[in-house]
C-alpha cells in the first residue's frame, strides 16, 4: 500500500520534472504562434482604413506566462476552516496585453500598418519559432536517449 503510494508519488514527481524541463520552450512556442496570428492580422489589414497595427511585448509576455504557470501550481486559494465557508475563487490572470504600434509615418486613412516593419517582424518571429522547435526537439532527443540507456 505504502509502496504503491510511493511509486505513484515518484511517477508524479518525474512527470512534473519532465514538464518543467520542456515548459519554457512550450510557452515560448505558443506565444510565438499567437504573435504570428497578430502579425498576420496586421498584414491582412494593411489596406483597411482606420485599422491600428497591434503587437505584444514578447519578453514581458513570456515572463508573465512563466510566473503564471508557477502561480497556477501553487494557487492562492483561501483556506476553508469551516464547512460553511464559501470557497474563494482566484481570478484568472488576464490574457496577453495587445499593444498598439506607434506609426513613424502618418497615413491619410488612419491605418498604422507599416508593411515593411510587419514583414520583418513576421520573418523574425518565424526564425525564432523554428529555433525554438529545434531546441525543443534536441531536448526531447536528449531525454529519449537517457530513457533508452536503461
Amino acid at each position: 500500500m505504502l509502496r504503491n503510494q510511493l511509486a505513484k508519488q515518484a511517477s508524479h514527481f518525474m512527470f512534473d520534472k519532465l514538464d518543467n524541463e520542456l515548459r519554457f520552450q512550450q510557452q515560448a512556442l505558443s506565444l510565438m504562434s499567437r504573435r504570428q496570428d497578430i502579425l498576420a492580422s496586421n498584414i491582412a489589414n494593411a489596406d483597411t482604413p482606420g485599422y491600428k497595427a497591434r503587437d505584444i511585448d514578447f519578453s514581458k509576455e513570456l515572463k508573465n506566462a512563466m510566473t503564471q504557470e508557477t502561480r497556477n501550481n501553487h494557487p492562492l486559494t483561501l483556506a476553508l476552516t469551516s464547512g460553511k465557508h464559501i470557497p474563494g475563487v482566484v481570478p484568472k490572470a488576464n490574457d496577453q496585453q495587445l499593444l498598439y504600434r506607434i506609426p513613424d509615418q502618418p497615413s491619410a486613412d488612419g491605418n498604422t500598418v507599416d508593411m515593411d516593419r510587419e514583414r520583418v517582424n513576421f520573418a523574425d518571429n518565424n526564425v525564432k519559432y523554428q529555433s525554438s522547435l529545434t531546441i525543443l526537439g534536441a531536448q526531447i532527443k536528449g531525454l529519449m536517449s537517457v530513457i533508452n540507456q536503461g
Partner: protein, 134 residues
Amino acid sequence: MSLFSIFDISGSAMTAQSKRLNVSASNMANADSVAGPDGKPYRARQVIFNVDNAAGQEIGGVKVSGVTESEAPDHLVYEPANPLADEQGYVHMPNVDVVGEMVNTISASRSYQANVEVMNSAKSLMLKTLTLGQ
C-alpha cells in the same frame, strides 16, 4: 485560438484583395462605356474594407463590407456629332480614373502576394511542428 486561424485571417484578406482587383478590372474595362443598361454612363466603384474580428477578439481578418459608387463628376468629351451628346455637344463619359485604378490594381496584387507568403510560412512552420520530437 489556434494556429489554423492564421489561414482564416490571410484567406479572408486574399478574398478581399481579389474582390478589389475584380472591381478595379471592371472599372478599367468600362472606362469608355458611355451607356449602361439604364442608359446612363458607367460609374466607377470602390470596395470598402472592414476588420472582421470575432466577438471579444481584437485581431481578425478582412471583410468587404460593401461596394460604393464613386461620386466624382463625369468626364465630359466634346463630340457634337455623337448621338449621345447633350445640348452643349458634350458626351458624358464614365468617371473612371484609369491611373488611379492602375495603382489600385498594383496595390491589391502586392497585398495579395504578402498574404500568400504569410500563409506559406505558416504552413511550413506547422509542418515542422508536426515533426517535433522525431
